[in-house]
């Protein structure tokens, strides 16, 4: 059972960290696509900033366009490197683009990156951006098990995906006051024993997405699931099943699968 869960988790590339306490945990790595989107957004922001600064400088140096040009040229060069390096350095590995796409640059050993690492990986862009459109960096990402571009390899950093994960919430079906399936403890126990974790998760996910599904789709899916459960896993009496909707059937089943251990109390 555990094996199926582990393989499911490891289909995407991830970084495995073994802590000194002997605990393993995994951090999902960011793929080239999301990094590209984040980079495009960052590039747009940098270009916008440079143009804004350019307008300002041109206004200030309107009497001396040559000096204005000098300031703009140097400023745009500096901003190009400093944008990524400063933001990543002081904002715990995130630029604006990375933050929006839930990406974060971290040290290879799972710790936050340091300021000099942020500078090194951003200065190395001169190589990664070659010959055009980050081809060198892209090839490096694709050929690296940790999805690092050359800048990351040198700085010892990598980019992880950090979509927010909340603690599994207690759904209302785990706190039902009355669950008619509880009246049939033997059948309920059978359901509990026979349902695989995948099946239980499937039922729960179907219920959670109740409001995201179109009415007809919801009806179809719930009917299929309820029929499957009723025919293959546990045979609740027909007079009970006929009285409740498919949705209520699934809610009751989830109450049995995920709920508090009231079942044992009923049995006791």
């Amino acid at each position: 059972m555990t094996d199926t869960q582990l393989t499911r988790a490891s289909t995407a590339a991830e970084l495995t960290i073994a802590t000194p306490e002997g605990v393993l945990f995994h951090l999902p790595l960011a793929g080239p696509a999301s990094r590209l989107y984040a980079m495009l957004l960052d590039t747009a922001i940098v270009l916008g900033t440079i143009n804004g600064v350019g307008l300002l400088v041109r206004w200030i140096f309107s009497k001396a366009p040559g000096f204005g040009f000098m300031v703009i040229t140097l400023a745009e060069f500096a901003i190009g490197f400093a944008y990524g390096a400063l933001l990543e350095g002081f904002w715990n590995g995130q630029t604006i683009g990375k933050r929006l796409f839930h990406l974060r640059v971290i040290d290879q050993n799972g710790l936050p990156l340091r300021i000099e690492q942020a500078w090194v990986r951003n200065l190395m862009r001169v190589l990664d951006a070659l010959p055009l459109a980050y081809m060198v960096g892209g090839l490096s990402v694709l050929s690296s098990p940790l999805m690092q571009r050359f800048g990351d390899r040198v700085a010892g950093t990598l980019v992880v995906r950090q979509t927010p994960v909340a603690a599994p919430v207690e759904e209302f079906w785990t706190r039902q006051k009355y669950n008619s399936f509880m009246d049939y403890p033997v059948v309920a126990m059978k359901l509990r024993r026979a349902a695989t974790p995948e099946l239980a998760t499937l039922i729960q996910d179907a219920l959670r997405r109740r409001n995201e599904l179109a009415t007809y789709a919801r009806r179809e899916i719930y009917r299929e699931l309820a029929t499957y459960l009723q025919s293959e896993i546990s045979l609740f009496p027909d007079e009970l099943v006929e009285k409740i909707s498919d949705e209520q059937y699934l809610i009751n089943a989830s109450g049995i699968l995920f709920g508090d251990q009231r079942l044992s109390r009923v049995q006791g």
Binding site: T19, M70, T73, V154, P197
Partner: protein, 343 residues
């Protein structure tokens, strides 16, 4: 293994919540320091969450719960094992000024890579110079730009045009900015090409050397030796060494990557690469200013002898700076003198 995941979760949830709020407080204020009680609490909650993670293996909720706990453990791990730089230290100007002494110190510490860069450039120079010397026709192949091939025309043009050069400080400013940007880009690339085990760096230096040798011999043959010295050296004495230092940084990086496994102080070594790059960038800013504002003026406005003298004194100052400034001792003791946020 836990049989009753739901009950386990109900029991453990309060301590996960505690850990979560502690982490949220820490992450929102990176410069915040824990007091002793909080530190102990963090350590304890982390250990418990890690133990919980190890125990959750089976059950209907296991997958979601594992994901949640892994994230929690990862965050706590980062907080526990990472010593953030102290903010007040980062903003101390004295620490930033350290770069002016750290640069020559680092340069001397890794002098052999500099020597290698010099050697390769000299090889290129010799090849370019000899080729032009024995076969003037090779100029067509070796010198890409048209203006470099016709010294007579170029010198004439330069000396004629200087009237315009004089009152155009504007143009010179714009020119210097472009030079600075271009040179820093090339130098940075040479330093970054260390990832090709130094091969890319060597090729770049060699090519640079060939150009340099070819131009020097070509102009000298036509009797413009003094003009060329006065034209190129005032900025060249900074530009050429900085490209060589870029080569040094590149070879150093190559060595660093090859020995990564053995180097227990990798982060420190990486910082030294960074110091070299920052130092050479500063040199290139000066070179760009000199090239635009000084080098382009020729006799009779600026006598060639004066320009050469300026170049010579620049070279002396640079040599003194690179060889004498900062601590003298070389070795493990000096390593720790580089500005460090590691504590």
């Amino acid at each position: 293994m836990i049989l009753d995941l739901e009950r386990f979760q109900v029991q453990a949830r309060p301590r996960w919540r505690d850990l979560e709020s502690l982490l949220a407080a820490l992450e929102s204020r990176p410069d915040r320091r824990l007091n002793l009680a909080e530190g102990e609490q963090l350590q304890e909650l982390y250990a418990q969450a890690a133990a919980d993670l190890n125990r959750v293996t089976h059950g209907t909720l296991a997958h979601e719960l594992r994901q949640y706990l892994e994230r929690l453990v990862a965050r706590a791990y980062a907080e526990l094992y990472y010593a953030p730089p102290v903010r007040s230290e980062i903003w101390q100007p004295r620490r930033w000024l350290r770069i002016f002494t750290a640069f020559p110190e680092t340069f001397r510490r890794h002098f052999r890579y500099f020597a290698l860069a010099v050697l390769i450039t000299l090889l290129g120079c010799a090849l370019g110079g000899l080729a032009v010397h024995y076969d003037p026709a090779s100029v067509e192949v070796l010198l890409p730009a048209d203006y470099l091939r016709n010294p007579d025309q170029r010198v004439h043009q330069e000396e004629q045009e200087q009237g315009q050069h004089l009152d155009s400080a504007q143009t010179e400013a714009a020119f210097s900015a472009q030079l600075i940007r271009h040179n820093i880009q090339v130098a940075l690339l040479a330093a970054a090409l260390g990832v090709t085990f130094g091969i890319g760096t060597a090729l770049l230096l060699f090519e640079n050397g060939v150009l340099l040798g070819a131009v020097a011999v070509h102009y000298t043959q036509r009797g413009f030796g003094l003009f060329m010295t006065a034209w190129l050296l005032p900025h060249g004495v900074f530009e050429i060494p900085s490209i060589l230092i870029a080569g040094q940084a590149g070879f150093y990086l190559a060595r660093l990557l090859l020995r990564r496994r053995e180097d227990r102080n990798f982060r420190q070594s990486m910082r030294e690469w960074l110091i070299l790059v920052v130092g050479l960038a500063m040199m290139l800013v000066w070179a760009g200013v000199m090239e635009a504002f000084f080098s382009q003026h020729h006799a009779p406005v600026l006598p060639y002898g004066f320009k050469v003298a300026v170049a010579a004194s620049e070279l002396v100052l640079l040599t003194i700076y690179l060889l004498m400034i900062g601590r003298r001792e070389i070795g493990t003791e000096a390593r720790s003198s580089v500005p460090s946020e590691n504590r």
